[in-house]
């Protein structure tokens, strides 16, 4: 019997039931999608890492190398399980030309350091998308997915290597997954050659760079090891990177996407709950007489409840099932980046199982919530239902009079505003949904904006200037420094520039252990960074520490730190802690000059008088300064490092904006349909006393508009206050290594475009729905 009631109800309230079904479907779908993606990301990464075995510590080095000394040191270090040194042939982008379907182009604009390598035997393997070790034959080349995405290279395209009098042509055979260098935020990328080709080219083209890789029984050993390694005077002319940074840089994009999807699905579940509550209450109020009669004739509560519960169970079941199917269909889109960057063999069994669990949980949650609402039937008495007409509402009485006191306010505005003001609770659904829609749209939009904003780089440890010049460590460091300085002093296009000298000192941390501290010093050191706590170093006895360093040595802003250098001890105060993903994440900044210490690296941040000249100048200086000095326009640097994250997030955010807007529109339709059904007799009365359809339309537009404005304002306030907290909470859960992100708000989007878009569309659907009142027949409504 119950099922026939359910069927009849579906046929009677098609629009409302369809809307409910859609919400349940979307919330289930997004929850399942985020679970699928989260599982997929982690299984793909762990699958890749398991097979490829990236090092726990890697020291890059250019120049002479004494492998015997390295082997000696490694074999004496306790926790090391394995080590190896690989050679990489560093070439420039202009040395590589691609000939394919897209035409002929070279990679001169690529700011990544390109290294030619051969496949390793057992560890740090370069894999294909199925996580299989790639084998390359003579004349073939494996291209990293990173470059494939940047340039759109295709299998079968030709890559011509040309430089130092050598020309060699390769055919692209595979796209390779590089567990260590698969993010644009890493400054290097590797191209795979056959052993024969590599051996033939070694010494003839490019410069040798060594990758000294170490594996530990416990990955946490990396930092302590780094100090010991550096103190041993082993090769260190290049970047040193530890496992946490490799993981952070690899997974940032996908974990951000998972977070955004999860946030949206949670909000959608809340919206579904609001809708379910509203429709159940509307149905109960409409059928209060029937409920009263059923109670009066002695039907038990559970029987009456089940009549309603069956319907919502059926809806939830259909919604979650449809959501699951939709999620499976869409999973390819959201896991596209994960599959491309980390490979994997489609959706894993674990992902399917966990997504099924997520779907079941959503169903049970809706079911439980419906049951909780339907308890109201238990509380209503026969007298409330049939005699007093009190129904389910708490009769608070006390209407607010005073309309007659109004002197000028237009009647339609008066009726609209008063209704919302005094009966806000009955409009709370629109308020809540608009608020949620604003948050749903704005938190991801702000996150995207943060990744796109040039200032973001200052939150990640890099200062923001027009051009960044770095002189690599090596024999020519001081010559390079002098050349750069001379060039900058002469160039009239320069507005200002700051120079930084990287030096290394020691500090004592837990159990009197010594640890190396790499400090960038200069008069502007740390000034342009954003600080998690504290501020930039000011006096000569102040020092700012990167988050990873501070964490490692257990120091906070305001603490004192003792540095050992030049055979002396000097005490510094930690002025602030900042986040850093550059230089392996372990850096410090100070204005003290540390004279007498040998520089490891020099860098210059340069601002030009005319920003439009940046590209031209960078190219000109790069040519003039030659090898060993990198000249990067910051905009280009940011675009190449964070562009990938922004691109992937952009697609998701676009979809979320559509979902958010559609949600607000659909709920408005659903709400208005139910509301108009409830207000039918009042509308008829208003028409009878002389209010035109236009007046009534206007009143509803005012009511919906008013509630929406309050919802939008509340949404903006919550986005501003909670957005950052939500994002940072998610970051700390994921343990990505990024402690804190300050969301960079796009004022135009948040305060103008998003509110306007929502308002216009909500009012538009209100207007469309209000057309139905034309069909209302005053007589039949009044006669009912």
């Amino acid at each position: 019997m119950n099922w026939s009631i359910v069927r009849n109800d579906f046929l009677r309230n098609k629009v409302i039931n369809l809307a409910l079904l859609l919400f349940m479907m979307f919330s289930a779908s997004l929850t399942i999608l985020s679970v699928l993606m989260a599982v997929q990301t982690f299984t793909s990464i762990s699958g890749l890492y398991k097979m490829a075995q990236p090092p726990h510590f890697v020291q890059m080095h250019k120049g002479e190398i004494n492998q015997k000394k390295i082997d000696e040191f490694m074999s004496n270090y306790e926790d090391i399980t394995c080590w190896q040194t690989d050679t990489m042939l560093d070439v420039y982008g202009e040395n590589l030309t691609v000939v394919g379907k897209k035409g002929r182009y070279n990679l001169s604009d690529c700011r990544l350091d390109i290294g030619l390598v051969k496949q390793n035997k057992t560890k740090d393997l370069l894999l294909n998308s199925k996580h299989e070790k790639v084998t390359i034959n003579e004349g073939e080349i494996g291209i990293p997915v990173l470059l494939k995405e940047m340039y759109g290279m295709k299998i079968g395209d030709h890559v011509i290597l040309n430089g130092d009098g050598v020309t060699k042509e390769f055919v692209i055979k595979e796209y390779i997954l590089d567990s260590m260098m698969n993010s644009p935020m890493v400054s290097s990328t590797r191209l795979l050659l056959s052993d024969k080709d590599f051996d033939k080219l070694q010494g003839k083209i490019g410069e040798n760079e060594y990758l000294i890789k170490v594996y530990f029984s416990n990955t946490k050993e990396a930092t302590e090891f780094q100090t010991a390694y550096e103190n041993a005077g082993l090769p260190q002319n290049g970047q040193a990177v530890t496992y946490p940074i490799i993981f952070l840089l690899s997974a940032l994009t996908d974990i951000t996407t998972v977070f955004v999807l999860l946030q949206v699905s949670v909000l959608l579940i809340i919206v579904s709950f609001i809708c379910v509550r509203f429709t159940i209450m509307a149905a109960l109020e409409e059928e209060i007489l029937e409920i009263g009669i059923m109670k009066a004739i002695g039907l038990p509560f559970a029987d009456i409840r089940d009549i309603y519960l069956y319907k919502y169970r059926a809806l939830a079941m259909a919604g979650v099932t449809a959501g699951y199917i939709l999620a499976l269909l869409l999973s390819g889109v959201v896991t596209k980046h994960t599959s491309a960057a980390f490979g994997g063999m489609g959706i894993s069994t674990l992902a399917v199982l966990l997504s099924l669990v997520a779907g079941c949980l959503v169903f049970l949650l809706i079911n439980y919530y419906c049951k909780a609402i339907l308890k109201k039937i238990k509380k209503v008495t026969v007298v409330d239902a049939l005699v007093t007409g009190k129904g389910f509402g708490k009769d608070k009485g006390g209407i607010k009079d005073g309309l007659y006191k109004s002197k000028r306010f237009s009647v339609n505005w008066l009726v609209g505003i008063r209704e919302v003001f005094y009966k806000f609770k009955s409009w709370i659904m629109i308020f809540a949904v608009v608020l949620i829609a604003v948050m749903m749209i704005m938190v991801p939009v702000n996150l995207l904006n943060t990744f796109k904003a040039p200032e973001f780089i200052t939150y990640m440890g890099s200062s923001l200037e027009d051009i960044l010049i770095e002189i690599e460590n090596g024999e020519n460091l001081e010559t390079g420094y002098a050349n750069v300085k001379q060039l900058l002093q002469k160039d009239a296009a320069i507005e200002n520039y700051y120079e930084y000298r990287s030096i290394r000192v020691k500090t004592i941390y837990a159990e009197n252990k010594l640890m190396n501290l790499n400090i960038d010093c200069g008069i502007n050191a740390g000034n342009e960074l954003q600080y998690l706590t504290g501020k930039a170093p000011e006096g000569k006895n102040e020092l700012a520490l990167s988050y990873l360093y501070a964490n490692e040595i257990g120091k906070r802003a305001g603490n004192k730190i003792e540095l050992l250098f030049n055979n002396t001890k000097k005490e510094f105060v930690i002025s602030g802690i900042y986040q850093d993903v550059t230089s392996g994440g372990y850096t410090a900044k100070s204005k003290y000059d540390f004279s007498g210490l040998v520089a490891d690296k020099y860098s210059f941040s340069v601002n030009l008088k005319d920003n439009s000249e940046v590209g031209k100048k960078a190219e000109e200086w790069s040519k003039s300064l030659g090898a060993g000095v990198s000249v990067d326009p910051m905009k280009e640097f940011i675009n190449q490092t964070l562009g990938g994250v922004a691109k992937q997030l952009g697609t998701i955010v676009f979809a979320i904006v559509i979902i958010g807007v559609a949600l607000a529109m659909l709920i408005t339709i659903l709400f208005l349909k139910l509301r108009l059904a409830k207000d039918l007799s009042e509308i008829a009365v208003l028409k009878a006393v002389g209010f035109s359809e236009h007046d009534i339309n206007k009143q509803y537009m005012i009511k919906i508009g008013y509630v929406s404005i309050i919802g939008i304002l509340a949404g903006i306030i919550l986005t501003d206050f909670l957005g950052v907290k939500i994002v940072n909470a998610a970051l700390s859960i994921t343990e990505l290594g990024v402690k804190k992100i300050h969301l960079i708000v796009s004022p135009v989007m948040e305060y103008i475009i998003c509110p306007l878009l929502l308002m216009v569309l909500i009012l538009l659907v209100t207007r469309i729905v209000m057309r139905t009142i034309k069909k209302y027949n005053i007589i039949s409504i009044i006669k009912e």
Binding site: G397, Y404, K407, V415, V685, K687, S692, I779
Partner: protein, 250 residues
Amino acid sequence: MKKILDVKNLCKSFEDTQVLNNIYFKVDEGEFIAIMGRSGSGKSTLLYSISGMDRPTSGNVLYFGKDISKLDDKKMSEIRLKHMGFIFQHSYLLKNLSIRDNIVLPGFKAGTLSREQVNQNANALMIKTGIDSVADHDIKKVSVGQLQRAAICRALINKPDVLFGDEPTGALNSSTTREVMDVINTVNAEGTTVIIVTHDAKVAARASRVIYLMDGNIHDELTLGKYEGAEKTKSSREKRLSEWLEKQGF
């Protein structure tokens, strides 16, 4: 005397059912007309068709010589607001407003008088109908009779030319019916034309003319003349009407 309404060849059908057939009748200014008939005879449909609440299928309704049967919603609403008043079987007051606010609402909307003037008129009407003591009450807290009188005040706030009533006493007991009808007769005596639909012969006996509808046609009419209110006249009018109704088969 001016003709306030001139109904010509009025027909109304709902899908395949013809409810009103070629109705002709005229109403003079200041008249009090009661429309009677058995259930389903089309009396309410006639009332709503001539008051512009519903559109006739064909025919014309001339209001002071102007055809209102084909006016658009905006123009018709304007006429309903400023020139017509309505009362129904139930009061149909807006539940979020107090008695007073319900009454002033159409007055504020019409905007023909200042809001101060509308408030004064509302006070005067409430005093006249005896509901001034509950003026600021919630509509859930007053009696059905008081509600119906409030509905009359709302209908009269813009000083309409004509007051329409669809069974205005249908939900009231006999003493409340008397009170409400006294108010309506007073309003009529002051010059407002009244047209009501009723089943109640005692109520109809207060009208100056009674129209009897049968199967969508005007079957007969009875002119009772002006209602004076004196007990003697009242019973003779009621007797006359009863006999006439009996003849109609009522």
